[in-house]
Amino acid sequence: MQDSLTIARKKRKFDLPVTKLLPFLLPIILILFWQVSSTLGWLSSSVLPSPLAVLQDGIKLTQSGELPKNLSISLYRATVGLLIGGGVGFILGFINGMSKTCRLLFDSSIQMFRNIPHLALIPLIILWLGINESAKISLVAIGTMFPVYINTFHGISSVDPDLIEMGKSYELSKSQMFFKIIFPAALPQILVGIRYALGVMWTTLIVAETISASSGIGYMANNAEDFMDMETVILCIVVYAILGKISDLVAKSFESLLLEWQTTGRSNV
């Protein structure tokens, strides 16, 4: 009994680094293959520059301050847009989830508006707001509002009625009911919405910055394209991939922090 337990534990310890490293295997092989192909001249640098060349370009642009400047302006637009869109989406989802009257009043209109792809609004928004910051931020806000709205609304309106009845039997006030029961019960669904919104946030920003901007990573890529600067184009794509991955990781760690009760399974007993 004791022995089999220690064996099981040892096995797990041995498993851990392997399972952590495995996801990186394919990208690493791919990059190595890419580098080798470039070095051996199988890949022309006008089609695809080598990873090392891209890396050198990245270092150069970082030293010149161009990359950090554009990166921070992109991050600023993304964050502000997400905060506004997410905030509005949350509030709308909250009031429609809580009040039947509001639901009847607003929901079908919101759903109608949602069916317009928000990127289709770019020309209209440029006409209204020009190509300044507010145009990009509004686009991100509109794009991120809907996933947060839908998931908040759905999360709140589908809270287990048994738990609500239980709260009523304790004569909870409306705000207690919300903070003790409804919000925590809806939280997993709301976080799904936020995670989805993060994806929408980057896509929207890239498109908006590519079409109309004088700064930002999307602008940098577009500008590099005009000068046939292949390294910078690839660099921007890599930066996008990294940003997307980082925001997903942040969202995930938020989830596991806030939803500890879901992940603490029987195995921990």
Binding site: D162, L163, K168, S169, E171, L259, E260, W261, G265, R266
Partner: protein, 241 residues
């Protein structure tokens, strides 16, 4: 109100749109009495408990609980544990109670239900029977005078069920609780209750007083009588057909 009575139900009717869930219910329950409410499914047992708990209002009639008709003296327990999955056991117990030394009280009650070591566990780490014991402890947190139990043992296996029956009986006797237990199990009713009330369609109610300190044989006899009372008419119809 009678001096000894804790719950008085007078001419209570409950309609849902066109559906009559309860018709002219009259029931008097004394302080410290243990009532079992049995009857066919859909007979309005849960509805009656919700009315007593004040979660819904009767269409007509009157329900009085205690002298000041306060809802906070009552606590409910359901077939589902209704624990909050995002709170650990200790926080689930403290939920809804207002006084300061809740933690100490909660720990006492956890010991009472023999789950003292589980304070920091989350509900999804517990078995069905353990969760129901936590739910019982939670119900006891606010020192209620009345326990309303809506088939709380319905989902448990026979062995766990039996242990829970004894635990509930013990707690109710020691704390002099007035208890209404809804159950579909006539043996459970005959084992636990001072008085069994059979809810039937229309205004027809049957009551059975159970002997004190009953033995297995007496329990069987009471259970049989109650079962016949519930099924009676239908059984007779079957036999004559």
């Amino acid at each position: 109100m009678n001096k000894n009575s804790m719950i008085e139900i007078k001419n209570v009717n409950k309609m849902y749109q066109n559906l009559t869930a309860l018709e002219n219910v009259n029931l008097n329950i004394n302080q410290g009495e243990f009532i079992a409410l049995v009857g066919m499914s859909g007979g309005g047992k849960s509805t009656l408990l919700r009315l007593i708990a004040g979660l819904e209002k009767p269409t007509s009639g009157e329900i009085t609980v205690g002298k000041d008709n306060s809802r906070s003296v009552m606590r409910m327990m359901f077939q589902e544990d209704r624990l909050l999955p995002w709170m650990n056991v200790l926080d689930n117990l403290s939920f809804g109670s207002k006084d300061k030394n809740t933690k100490a009280h909660a720990k006492e009650l956890l010991d009472l239900v023999e789950l003292g070591d589980y304070a920091n566990h989350f509900p999804n780490q517990l078995s069905g029977g353990q969760k129901q014991r936590i739910a019982l402890a939670r119900a006891l947190m606010t020192n209620p005078k009345v326990l309303l139990l809506d088939e709380p043992l319905g989902a448990l296996d026979a062995l766990t069920r039996r242990k829970m029956q004894d635990l509930i009986l013990d707690v109710c006797q020691k704390q002099h609780l007035t208890t209404i237990l809804v159950t579909h199990d006539v043996d459970e009713a005959a084992r636990m209750a001072d008085r069994i009330v059979v809810m039937k369609e229309s205004t027809n109610y049957y009551e059975e007083d159970c002997p004190k300190n009953r033995n297995a044989g007496q329990i069987g006899i009471v259970a049989d009588r109650v079962l016949n009372e519930i099924l009676g008419e239908k059984e007779i119809q079957k036999q004559t057909a």
